[in-house]
């Protein structure tokens, strides 16, 4: 798997913030960056730099987390540069396309917005342990509970799924080898043959996964798992730093909104 935004152990102030605050901040920032203009955008970027600094993550690490997106950045940029109408700077006679002033500006702006989004999300996951993220998500979903959204079940399913991922990876590898031992070739052959080979993988994989899930459910029932209110090993509690962060976020967003930057 790609090494994207994986948790980086640390004890900075950002690491210690309540996961609910961090998740909400990322959501709010992502929404704002998409609707504000250049001035407020620069302000938000400076804020993001400050957060990176406070989290004691090296800039190099943050840049690395952008790497899987590079192709998308380039594509998005080119799309806007080439297809926005306006005053042309360079014209390509062979395909009738031209780079326009407006396109260049728009392309840079949108690409940078997108980079901001990715950076924000990766800082969140780099400074928060997955289990804290899960309880954070559960905490955030809590208000939906009266609407009948099974927030607790969702949190449990999330941790089950986290546990299943490596198990299934191993399982897929095992079944693939078993089919190869029976003469299946996944590398060579015609397209149709390749697709057929892959379906020969899918059936045993799905069946064995059902068995795994069944076993897990039985094991949970056997240990007396019951749905309903539960306690937690580590309860989320807001500290003064969390309240300061909350106030800071609210102040900044209202500021941007009021000044209409």
């Amino acid at each position: 798997m790609y090494n994207w935004g994986q948790y980086v152990p640390g004890n900075s102030i950002i690491h210690r913030l309540d996961p609910r605050i961090k998740i909400l901040s990322v959501i709010v920032l992502s929404v704002f960056i998409l609707k504000v203009g250049v001035n407020a955008g620069l302000l938000l970027s400076v804020f993001m730099m400050a957060v990176i600094f406070m989290s004691r993550l090296t800039f190099q690490r943050v840049i690395t987390s952008l790497r899987p997106f590079i192709i998308f950045f380039i594509l998005l940029f080119l799309l806007h540069v080439l297809f926005t109408a306006g005053t042309p700077i360079v014209r390509f006679s062979f395909c009738g396309l031209s780079i326009t002033h407006e396109g260049l500006y728009r392309g840079l702006y949108i690409t940078w917005q997108f980079m901001f989004l990715v950076t924000g999300a990766s800082i969140l996951t780099m400074t928060t342990v997955p289990s804290d993220l899960i309880s954070g998500i559960e905490g955030i979903l809590k208000p939906l509970r009266p609407l009948g959204v099974p927030t607790h079940d969702i949190a449990i399913m999330l941790s089950l799924a986290l546990r299943f991922v490596p198990t299934f990876l191993g399982e897929i590898d095992r079944i693939k080898k078993a089919q190869m031992a029976r003469g299946a070739n996944f590398k060579k052959g015609k397209m149709i043959k390749k697709i057929k080979n892959i379906t020969s993988l899918a059936l045993p994989i799905v069946l064995s996964s059902f068995r795994r899930a069944e076993e897990t459910a039985t094991a949970m029932e056997g240990r007396g798992y019951k749905r309903g209110p539960r306690t937690c090993l580590r309860n989320l509690r807001m500290s003064s730093a969390d309240y300061i962060a909350l106030v800071l976020m609210v102040a900044m967003m209202t500021g941007i909104q009021l000044m209409a930057l």
Partner: protein, 183 residues
């Protein structure tokens, strides 16, 4: 969503959530655009588990991505993807799964045609959600959004739907999925 899910149902939904995540990593090289198997797994999840659990499995998948597992197409993750230009497809997965599941539940025995119909309908819903978000977030025009966001994937989808129909009927004849919607 009714709060009536058994432990077994939760386990199944979690399993398909994890499988969808892995589906993003199984890339079949194909001319023009490589095919990934997320939607393929989603088709299976929804038609085997039904509407509620099918949709839940996709919610689990998306949450896995949000908390930072690089499980979205191309090894991406995070909330940025959901809110970003291509996030609409992911939201479409949830709605699509619900539609497939409900359509399957509505008939005792669904034949090839009914399965195909529900999968195609869900695929249309996924693209609609995807294109709407492309329009809003990437600020593309409708024509551009369809050119980059729908057309390149259609052949791959046809293949995936065909394979999914075969697999669904095969699996349904092989295992009896225990009733998962009551405690």
């Amino acid at each position: 969503m009714a709060g009536k899910i058994s432990t077994r149902g939760m386990s199944y939904a979690a399993m398909f959530g994890a499988m969808t995540a892995l589906g993003a990593y199984i890339i079949i090289p194909f001319p023009l655009v490589p095919i990934t198997l997320q939607t393929f797994v989603m088709y299976l999840a929804a038609s085997l588990l039904g509407g509620h659990l099918g949709a839940l499995s996709q919610i689990v998948y998306i949450l896995l991505g949000i908390i930072g597992l690089p499980v979205f197409a191309g090894g991406k993750a995070g909330l940025g993807v959901l809110i970003g230009p291509t996030g609409g497809y992911l939201i479409g997965f949830i709605i699509g799964a619900y539609i497939i599941g409900k359509m399957m539940e509505s008939r005792k025995h669904s034949g090839y045609v009914w399965i195909a119909l529900s999968l195609i309908l869900a695929t249309v819903v996924i693209y609609t959600c995807g294109v709407v978000q492309l329009l809003v977030v990437a600020q593309l025009s409708l024509q551009k959004a369809i050119t980059v966001g729908v057309l390149p994937f259609l052949i791959g989808d046809a293949i995936k739907i065909a394979a999914a129909i075969l697999l669904i009927t095969k699996i349904k004849s092989r295992i009896q999925i225990k009733k998962v919607s009551n405690d």
